[in-house]
Symmetry: C2
Amino acid sequence: MRSRNFLSLGLSCCLSMAVCLPLAYGQKGDSLALMPMPSHLTAGEGHLKVDSGFTVGLEGYKEARLELARKRFLKDLSRQTGIPYHLEATEGKPTLVVETTGASKDVQSVGEDESYHLEVTPTNARIKAATPLGAMHGLQTFLQLVAITPDGFAAPAVTIEDAPRFTWRGLMIDAGRHFQPLDVIKRNLDGMEAVKLNVFHWHLSEDQGFRAESKVYPQLTGKGSNGDYYTQDQMKEIVQYARDRGIRVVPEFDMPCHTTAWFVGYPELASGKGPYQIQTKWGIFDPAMDPSRESTFTFIDKFIGEMTTIFPDAYFHVGGDECNGKEWDANAQIKAFMQEHQLKDNAALQSYFSGRVQKIVAGHDRVMVGWDEVLQPNTPKDVVIESWRGPKGLAASARQGNRTILSNGYYIDLNQSAEEHYLVDPLGGDAASLSAEEKKRVMGGEAAMWSEFTTSEIIDSRIWPRTAAIAERLWSPQEMRDVESMYTRMYAVSDKLEGYGLTHQTVTRRMLQRMSGEDDPKYLAVLASVVQPPREYERESLKEFDWHTPLNHLVDAVPPESEVARRFKNLVDAIVGGQASPEQWQTAKDWLERWRDNDAKLEPTLKKSEITAELAPVSQTLAQVSTIGLRALGDLQNHHAADASTTQSDLQTLKAAEKPQAVLRDMVVAPVEALVKAAGGGR
Amino acid sequence: MRSRNFLSLGLSCCLSMAVCLPLAYGQKGDSLALMPMPSHLTAGEGHLKVDSGFTVGLEGYKEARLELARKRFLKDLSRQTGIPYHLEATEGKPTLVVETTGASKDVQSVGEDESYHLEVTPTNARIKAATPLGAMHGLQTFLQLVAITPDGFAAPAVTIEDAPRFTWRGLMIDAGRHFQPLDVIKRNLDGMEAVKLNVFHWHLSEDQGFRAESKVYPQLTGKGSNGDYYTQDQMKEIVQYARDRGIRVVPEFDMPCHTTAWFVGYPELASGKGPYQIQTKWGIFDPAMDPSRESTFTFIDKFIGEMTTIFPDAYFHVGGDECNGKEWDANAQIKAFMQEHQLKDNAALQSYFSGRVQKIVAGHDRVMVGWDEVLQPNTPKDVVIESWRGPKGLAASARQGNRTILSNGYYIDLNQSAEEHYLVDPLGGDAASLSAEEKKRVMGGEAAMWSEFTTSEIIDSRIWPRTAAIAERLWSPQEMRDVESMYTRMYAVSDKLEGYGLTHQTVTRRMLQRMSGEDDPKYLAVLASVVQPPREYERESLKEFDWHTPLNHLVDAVPPESEVARRFKNLVDAIVGGQASPEQWQTAKDWLERWRDNDAKLEPTLKKSEITAELAPVSQTLAQVSTIGLRALGDLQNHHAADASTTQSDLQTLKAAEKPQAVLRDMVVAPVEALVKAAGGGR
């Protein structure tokens, strides 16, 4: 499910020069640092102190998971405040009561009641929920409410009625291309819980590696991995860890293509002759399972049977994307099989394969999930389609009667802005015209973290904080589309996520230290704060990358979105629109001067390291672009119309500066272009 | 082993305003970022590239631990470079060969051969060692050699012959007062391995909590802890984890005092009437075991027997410190017992107790270790004395024929400078006059991390990087005493330690965020960079603290030593000594101006948070002190002799500013005093 032609827009994260974001909010509902924003929120008067005497008690229905959630809440609250809390239940009336009505299902199912009611008054707080799922969501909301105030840590008085808009709110992690160790998975599950995501879609097999231990077919990992894989005990541990956090685990074993790793140990499954080696390049490969042999389906049946003993979820993802058909075309036996079964082309052959697999999956009491390509006219109606190729697939599935999940627009590996992802709505675009009945088939969406360019070191910074914005899209009311509010809240939540153990913020500094050999690489940080990785699939066209390529360059260290550049663009918009305050004019000037002057300061650092040497032109371009920006800003401020030739020449320079250098985009170029155009035109 | 009267000197760590430390070093031996510095090092020509093709192979003696060490080395090398390494053994000639002659003991013992030879040439590298212990030390040295260069990551060509000066190089962690979770212990063992420490002294019982699960006496943790303790499996896991890193684990169960937690579940052990509660205050408490009852020793015998099944080390620490004797004085039965056994005072009673315990320990094939107080004229010669009360105890033990370990001077909870610890030598002071035979009894030393003011959140920042300096003292030649070289190398190693998973650097920023509610609390960081916690036991006299007190204030967030203030002091020394360059004059002025101007910028932040509100006077004092400093600096620069009354008045102001505010010391005061005195006197 990787494609090369998408459309999108363009935006950051916090380095040492980043701008302050206040975490302490006022009483107005939409200024609270909540993400996802609750569906109904009424601000009250005053606040509830969260001091050493703060306690939490459970009422009503009880189970071990709720007690674990209570303790986890207190631990997180300790991390958030530095106040030590006793984890044992205490006597007396608790400050926060969690009142749960009944159990949730033994295996968490789609559409279970996740709603909760949270009331905070100056003297106490109460969460009411029908199930532990809602209770846990309420606890997360309370954690987000807590902020430092002149009166100590406190939660504002508030009444919240909250329930999710969609039942399927997922994050997919590709552990196939770059393996992701257990602790990475766990801390990302912690992050998911914090923003109320409820599905962990675990992509466990790829051309580059098979990552799930099979005892029936041990060579799947024995030969099909480099030794990095999850044992069955570890996968069970993750299932339990996720369940404790109200998260379902949907495993994916991608077939019939993306299957090279299966064939290294079991070449008899393949349509080609073999022998096979694990792929170490990125891209789409020819190897495909052989649908013409019964033994293929026997293998799949046994394998899926084994995996369902580990993954209790009602849904089972079998991939089904990106078959190029080359091995099928080259195999005479398969050609004969297609003729015999009147399968007119490879799409029909894949459809036949999917149909067989669907029966196997159903035979193990599971609902099959597959990518777009699985949808054919005769696809059984209970198959769930995950739409990745474009906005139309989702609507088409729903019209055809299949339930569907949106992943297109939520590909967080493509270095798009939080804004872009945030504004993609599962019921927007083509889906807006669906009937009410059809709309019900849209179950939700999933952020998809493909891992060609993502090691375990940097994966957190690719997932967070942008996935919090997607989580809000999938939880909160459709009409919530205020992008500035989203960014403010997202960065506030980002700080909390880092506090819970994610590393998306600190990794940048550590990598800048490493690549520069400096303890405080402040000038490199200035450059880092305004560059971004290329968008979508452009990176692959700029430089050769494969599994062996170290992801230790600036493009890997910087977050997918530059918050500094986004703020600079906002300043420029205000200036060009004639709305800028004197402070905004000054800030724009200060920033441009800093970027202009940074090159000379950074130059000695760059030369000291092979990794930073390639950044010399990037730094020079930033200085050049900033110089142009200062000229244009001055002209605008002095109401001096720039002459046409200067404007023309500057725009040409900027055009050239748009081109990535050292696989990096200079995010100051576009706003400076806007300044130059404004200075050159009509003022 | 906590006392209230010590003597000592006075010095930081890196915040966002901290000064750059180059990590890439030249070819000169003492400029390499090695800590501890090897005993013999000869620099060669050129360097060995550490790129994607780098491999490591084992030769000679092999065991599972060496293979684990090889993989851990490659993982650390990946973390240090961002280059992915395959962990499986590869074909062909390895870049780095580790050649080991033979095994080390099944249970690592004191005095095993830890030496290694490391030769790095531009084409390859070889470690030769008699045992896996030396091989692992060699791998750590190689990791420290790797730095970024214009030719990529590389290790300089070098020949190293290395062996430790002392056989006992320890870190004690007090898990009794504040419990330290398993991951904290593990990452600190990683840090110990990196600086070649070889003893983890685990303080497992205290008045405030019993932390080791006993199956024979389950109420030791059942009633004697708040639920935070290590299970037997977890303790075994730590023993194995430590052994894999060449580290012995010496458990300590402190008796007969510091034993309140034992008595909550087993009051029959106590000399008082009870009932007992876990202590939640800090200090010295009355409860003491009853040496007059045989049942006490039966209990101890069974308990130590159980613990020796978990801790295989030949040494067993039984504490023995700080008995105030009050419960003994108040117990008639004990008084009678003393008379009957001709024990003339409480010291004699404790000596009797220690003698009994020593026999129990010996009965379980262990050597007893105890704190100073255990040493009595008739103490058996195989008892090891850990000297904590002063420099004299160590020499006294050695003279009396007992082996001894120095802990006095290495109390890293007392917020002394790395320099102070570094210059304390186990064979310095009183020990310098020992005979050669007596000197052999000095086994080494231990950094001691008592945890009254140390939660699991901040413990790394209390231990690191200063413990690296102590590790060098215990490993490297005695004549190595260049403090500036030590600081440069210590901060370089500090960055690597953070890269290996310790959190001593990042915790400060996160806590400043939390206490201010700001994403980038840059003005608070400026203040934080020049203040320190009070030295030694002064903190307890400034404010009430107990187990419930949140350690979330600036005093807890800042490192024990301000690196910025230390550098400022160096600048002032150069200025006052007439040795300062124009750049140094300018830097001193820039810094003083920044500190002077910071108060106005910081003021709005401070008011927003209850936690930061108390810092207003601290910030104002910094401004005031800096203003005085600027005046004096100007006078010195202009060769203008300050008039006596100005000098007098400024010195009075500075005297007042020396007093801690908000439990914080302003580390700029002393250097500014030096400036004022220089400006006022004789120029």
